[in-house]
Symmetry: C2
Subunit: 250 residues, 2 copies
């Protein structure tokens, strides 16, 4: 199987391939953090590095799939991937049945599509809010415009949240977001790093910047969120460069 | 109230004092990690620094208590403190009723006294094993000798696990350990740091060296532990210097 991903989806595919005893090829951007490349390679996947834009990875993966007959496992804009991500929504409902507010990071939109669909289908009065870095706020712009808005690559590349550097959400994920997500809010780069620090100090949880945007919204933008009695902020990844984690803690 | 502690008990007392609206004075060793001093000060406690030996802290705390009428909250060798620590054992039984092996760090012995008493009183066929740094293995020596063995300060100070640098267990805690603990094992300094790294990478949990000794025993000494189907390794603290965490991750 083959996929194109800046990081955590890559590890998921590599893990699944190893579990199934098959081969995984991962097309990653050259600027993906070393820790993500290493973690993926450690799971036995073959890594192909390309340029930083999302479309480059996808084209390369499609070329290799055509050449070698690999099955493509897309990172987000795919109904089965969204269904898989939806299990995180089911887990939230199981662990906290009283939940009334869920904050979820948005990159390509796969995770929030799955979670919001699962939650709104089971407990429709729960609010689901997407969170993005302000500089990569394409999903918020799209949500407000009612159509997919593309952000320029140099802008989205400027966020430290390397897993959320997508220039636009997918066509399938956008339909889920329009239907099931109540709002999309953004957080600043400083707020993201501060959330990484707070998570490491108090719940003692290692979160990468992309994984910390939802807690950042809860910590720093509570006044723009609906009142809630039982809130969940999804921490979607912890593959942080140790040096960055150290810096965030001073 | 006043206590003498190298770190985590200090934070507990400072937290409790703030919650009760009263004053906390904490006598800490000068060599306690900055992060522990800062976390304690951030909770509003007054900090008094003394030399590195356990007895210096205790004497200073007793002097200040006599002078100002403070209530002493001892760090471990006290029945009420042990009873409080026992709630961790009750939580283990609640979260994992099938538990058959529990690994617990030993410094002064308060935590393991409480946990082992709670667990053996509720589910006597569960094995409880203490874990110490090899260089501060006074509890293992005491357990084997059947009497409290004291280790020289320069030896216990050589462990990176600053919360487990006690030279000897308490007289009350030793009675609990003799009665309720099945064995005491030790781990090396390298194993402790490797466990800190693994915890930060995989369960994404920030553990300090003292907090990582029980997982280290599980990771590196499983062959000397009894066979088990449902094991718990207690992670007792996460106040790690960010620079040390970074180093551990390379």
């Amino acid at each position: 199987m083959i996929t194109y991903s800046s990081g955590n989806h890559a590890q998921g595919v590599a893990y699944a391939a190893r579990a199934l005893g098959t081969k995984a090829v991962i097309v990653m951007p050259r600027n993906a953090p070393a820790i993500k490349r290493e973690a993926t390679a450690a799971l036995g996947a073959e890594i192909v590095l390309v340029g930083p834009s999302g479309i480059e990875r996808q084209i390369k993966a499609e070329e290799l799939a055509a050449e070698h007959g690999y099955v493509i496992v897309p990172p987000y804009d795919d109904e089965k991937i969204i269904a898989g991500q939806g299990t995180a929504g089911l887990e939230i409902l199981e662990d906290l049945p009283a939940v009334d507010l869920v904050l979820v990071p948005i990159g390509g939109g796969g995770l929030i599509s799955g979670i919001s669909t699962a939650i709104k289908s089971s407990k429709p009065n729960t609010t689901v809010i997407g969170v993005e870095p302000e500089v990569a706020g394409d999903a918020q712009a799209s949500f407000r415009a009612g159509e997919i808005v593309k952000f320029p690559p140099e802008q989205v590349l400027s966020t430290i949240a390397d897993g959320l550097r997508s220039q636009y959400v997918g066509t399938i994920t956008f339909e889920h977001i329009r239907r099931y997500v109540d709002d999309v809010v953004t957080v600043t780069e400083e707020e993201i790093l501060e959330a990484v620090r707070i998570l490491s100090e108090n719940p003692k949880t290692v979160a990468e910047p992309s994984g910390a945007v939802a807690p950042a919204a809860w910590l720093f933008h509570r006044d723009s969120l609906p009142a809630s009695n039982a809130s969940v902020a999804v921490i979607s990844g912890g593959n942080i460069d140790p040096e960055l984690l150290r810096q965030s803690r001073f």
